[in-house]
């Protein structure tokens, strides 16, 4: 499993195509969630390093388990706060 921080997730989510399966599909709402937290914004260098689609799937909302699909990789991590924010954005 690759190390993932909440910062890197939000950066990736705002830069690439993003889908949330299992709970809902999000486009604009999540972008505004990420944008609201300016401390977590990507640096220009980080943004430039991202390429290709990145997809996010909430595997288990109760455990805060999330899977990111990027390149040919799957990255699974747990972040209850993040999952809560994502799912609330679908309302």
């Amino acid at each position: 499993m690759h190390p993932v921080t909440r910062r890197s997730f939000l950066a990736t989510g705002s830069a690439g195509a993003l889908a949330v399966a299992g709970a809902a599909t999000i486009g604009g709402p999540l972008a505004s969630v990420a944008a609201a937290d300016t401390a977590d914004e990507l640096s220009p260098a980080e943004a430039a390093a991202l390429s290709g689609p990145t997809m996010l799937q909430v595997l288990d909302p109760t455990k805060g388990e999330v899977e990111i699909l990027v390149d040919e990789r799957s990255i699974v991590f747990t972040d209850k706060t993040l999952v809560a924010r994502v799912l609330r954005a679908t309302r």
């Binding site: 889908a19 689609p53 990145t54 997809m55 799937q57 699909l69 390149d71 040919e72 990789r73 799957s74």
Partner: protein, 455 residues
């Protein structure tokens, strides 16, 4: 069919649907492996003709140590381009060469070889890039001299492999219309539970096309010791082959775009013909397609007690009394399909890969190509044919029908006497030999849309 549209999931994804896998020994110590996709193509396919999918990872796997996992994999990735954004047409004039300006929709592919050895890092080697796929066979005006176009797409790589990817004539043959009408075999339907006069078989897929991936590789590239096998009784002479197609786990669709991300998830595989088709229950076919042969023990129960063996005596009353009475696991089918046939069952023959149960097309490469191939393969005394690998002309429907009916069971269980019908039943179809070529890529020229159906 062998594995055409054989599972609920893959029937909705034809570009990734592996229809048949072949592996046979060819001259100069080589093996030719063919995997076909996109089943039952009506030759008149316009305006959008058939093609491989850019988003699919097509693979040919070879297991040379009997663990059900690939030791050598050939990976094919396709790239499709439109050269003329202003036309709705596949071609705007005759396609005379593979770089013809009148050809709008083109494919090329990258071929990568992955070699895996225990305790060592995988070796990944790109064998070729930008290798062309010929156009589909449209008709005499669009694709004149089709054989020349196809021949131009045969490439010999610097590493010794020969490759071809493109449209081909369907090589499998079966009376599909009858066998899935309650197991009818037309030559024997006068003995069916619902009787009709006996008749000749009808090859239901005689004039359709597929898309084939064909690779010819030096035998020594496939064996575990890197040597050309000469001794049929040596374990090093046997490899297991299967084809597989995978898509990335994530797919997103939008207006005018489609993107994929994540690890590859297998959606289709095929080693022995008809395995998923007639062995695995409908409820588990998609699961079977999603896992590798190393997980075959999950499905071994369906080989040990095949549903078809129980159906035959019901559908053909009084014809299979001994089969109906047999109440043990089918050691013959478990060997043929899941482990290979061990030494001692057939004198001078083995294609045993060990005790790990895995559906692989096992090929003992030490048997040279037969001068006079028998369509019944090993069942007909020809060690160069199915289930020792699979040639294009092997009548796998008849071979497997007879095997399931118990024709070879006495070899592993002498207490069993095969019913007379076990060595006689067939679906009444025969190899469409005119669809095969004498040389690489062996599988024949596709039917043209202009000529099929005939005017």
């Amino acid at each position: 069919m062998s594995s055409h549209r054989e599972a609920p999931g893959i029937l909705k994804d034809p570009c990734a649907d592996n229809t048949d896998t072949y592996a046979f020994v060819t001259p100069n110590d080589t093996v030719t492996i063919i995997t076909s996709y996109i089943p039952v193509q009506a030759p008149a396919g316009g305006p959008n003709f058939y093609e491989f999918a850019d988003e699919v990872l097509y693979e040919i796997h070879v297991d040379n140590d009997g663990d059900g996992k690939p030791n050598v994999s050939y990976q094919f990735r396709f790239e499709t381009v439109n050269t003329n954004p202003n036309t709705f047409l596949y071609n705007t004039g005759p396609i005379n060469t593979l770089d013809d300006a009148d050809w709008n929709r083109r494919q090329t592919y990258k071929l990568t070889k992955v070699t895996r050895r225990p305790g060592r890092r995988d070796r990944v080697e790109v064998l070729g890039r930008g290798i062309p796929v010929p156009p589909c066979n449209i008709g005499p005006r669009s694709t004149p001299n089709y054989e020349d176009l196809a021949a131009a797409a045969v490439k010999t790589l610097r590493t010794g492999e020969k490759v071809f990817c493109g449209q081909r004539a369907e090589s499998f043959f079966v009376d599909l219309g009858s066998v899935f009408d309650l197991g009818t075999l037309r030559p024997f339907q006068d003995k069916h539970l619902i009787r009709m006069p006996a008749g000749a078989g009808v090859d239901s897929i005689e004039q359709v096309n597929v898309h084939s991936i064909v690779i010819q590789v030096p035998m020594a590239d496939l064996t575990r010791d890197g040597r050309v096998p000469r001794d049929p009784m040596s374990p090093n002479s046997v490899v297991g082959v299967w084809g597989a197609a995978s898509r990335q786990k994530g797919l997103s669709r939008g207006s005018g775009y489609r993107s994929s991300a994540g690890p590859w998830q297998q959606v289709s595989r095929l080693g022995n013909p008809l395995f998923n088709e007639v062995i695995v229950p409908l409820s588990r076919k998609d699961e079977w397609n999603a896992v590798g042969p190393d997980k075959e023990s999950r499905f071994a129960q369906f080989v040990a007690r095949p549903e078809l063996a129980a159906l035959l005596p019901v559908l053909y009353p009084t014809v299979f009394p001994n089969l109906a009475a047999y109440n043990k696991d089918r050691a013959d089918l478990l060997a043929i399909l899941l482990t290979g046939i061990p030494d001692g069952v057939i004198p001078g023959f083995q294609n045993f890969t060990g005790t790990t149960q895995a559906d692989e097309l096992r090929l003992n490469m030490a048997f040279p190509p037969s001068a006079n191939p028998n369509r019944l393969g090993l069942l007909g005394g020809d060690p160069d044919g199915f289930p020792n690998g699979r040639r294009l002309t092997d009548d796998v429907v008849t071979i497997e029908l007879r095997a399931v009916a118990g024709a070879v069971l006495p070899r592993v269980d002498p207490s069993f006497t095969a019913d007379g019908a076990a060595s006689a039943i067939e679906d009444g179809t025969f190899p469409p030999v005119r669809q095969f070529l004498d040389d690489f890529p062996y599988i024949g020229t596709p039917y043209s849309g202009f000529n099929v159906p005939a005017a």
